[in-house]
Chain length 215, copies 2
Amino acid sequence: MQSSPLTVNESTYRALREKILFGDMLPGRPVTLRGLAESLNVSPTPIRESVRRLIAERALTMHDNRRVSIPVMTAKRFQEIRLARLLLEPELACLAMSSIDQAGINELIEIDLKTDKAVENDDVEGYMRGNYDFHFTIYRHASSDVLLSLVDSLWLQFGPYMRQVYNHLDSITLDDKHRVATRALKNNDVIAFKNAIMEDLQQGMTYIDASNSDL
Amino acid sequence: MQSSPLTVNESTYRALREKILFGDMLPGRPVTLRGLAESLNVSPTPIRESVRRLIAERALTMHDNRRVSIPVMTAKRFQEIRLARLLLEPELACLAMSSIDQAGINELIEIDLKTDKAVENDDVEGYMRGNYDFHFTIYRHASSDVLLSLVDSLWLQFGPYMRQVYNHLDSITLDDKHRVATRALKNNDVIAFKNAIMEDLQQGMTYIDASNSDL
DNA sequence: ATCAACTTTTTGTGATCACAAAACAAGTTT
DNA sequence: AAACTTGTTTTGTGATCACAAAAAGTTGAT
């Protein structure tokens, strides 16, 4: 898919991004440039640029000390993210709807099955990846770079915290809104689809909020 | 206000940001790191990081050639930005409303007067700065970093294009929605305020859209 | 004149170095 | 024990260098 080989810069960015998004880096723990450089076997230079980029995307924070870390979640910030997601994601999903054909629906069903299996196995990262894939497979169909990058930033912001909360999945007994969404998609029912995405999002955020410890 | 002196990195970022936001850099024209470095009298290093940051904020684009430029506007992208703004900004304005006291209202009125004067003098940059100040003085009162940074990214994206369109202001005869907004603010009328922001935004975007040449 | 091939210059990338500020760790004093 | 010094280490910052890829410029053939 990618014709030209990735620059070191790009590959370190993606590596860090994955770590953040799926919970390999927990909030609060400090991050050092040289440490990351060594762990990824590159020089500090591309690390610095990747870190700067992630700071711009709000996935990382730079304190007055010039020290970098995953931002700690606060109740206030959590509600801000929740609101922003509710404003953008259902809308983005609707934009995507007309572009999703039967093959797309099948792909979503497959992702959903994979996600369910991860839940059964108490595989937290697998669940998070599945959830991410489900949503962004939909969102990408909207082919709206502007909205997509905004939403992307939001996921980068609550991802680490989500992982912090989802230590174990066995306690979760959620309605599978993903299934409701795919059904609405198959029926081409815009309202039901938008509602399903909204409820999925609300359900997830409410669960995280309720399970919080230090928030 | 800022206790510690700015790093070179931060000051170059702000300088570039201002240039982009208020139209000193027009879409399409290529940008070179060494060129920026020389024009700001710093080494390429801080420039690279600032540019990366601005790329992450979608204010700049990197092509496959690895060449950087202000993104060219397309009709599609313009509509995406318009939609995103409509989803976020009225909401953000409402969040801010309760925190704006009489002093805040007076500040807004003053900004608005300054803006009107800029229009009279056909001072495009002054108008753009005034418009920016008006909106972000409101938005900052919401004290929602999450939403604010999303909106900030959107302004960085349409700023250069706005300037491209607003070559002269004399042809503009717009209702002053800012005045409507401040009046609603004084009356503590949430609905009227939200509407005023929305209409101001729609009016501006419609004007830009209609005046476009190559979009 | 037009286009191709070659040469030169420019540009982004990534590594390395010097430096100052911050964090750390003992050791000392109160 | 707690708080303050002092010396050491770690860390981010900014500049510089080498290198490869891309642009630009030049020459030559058709």
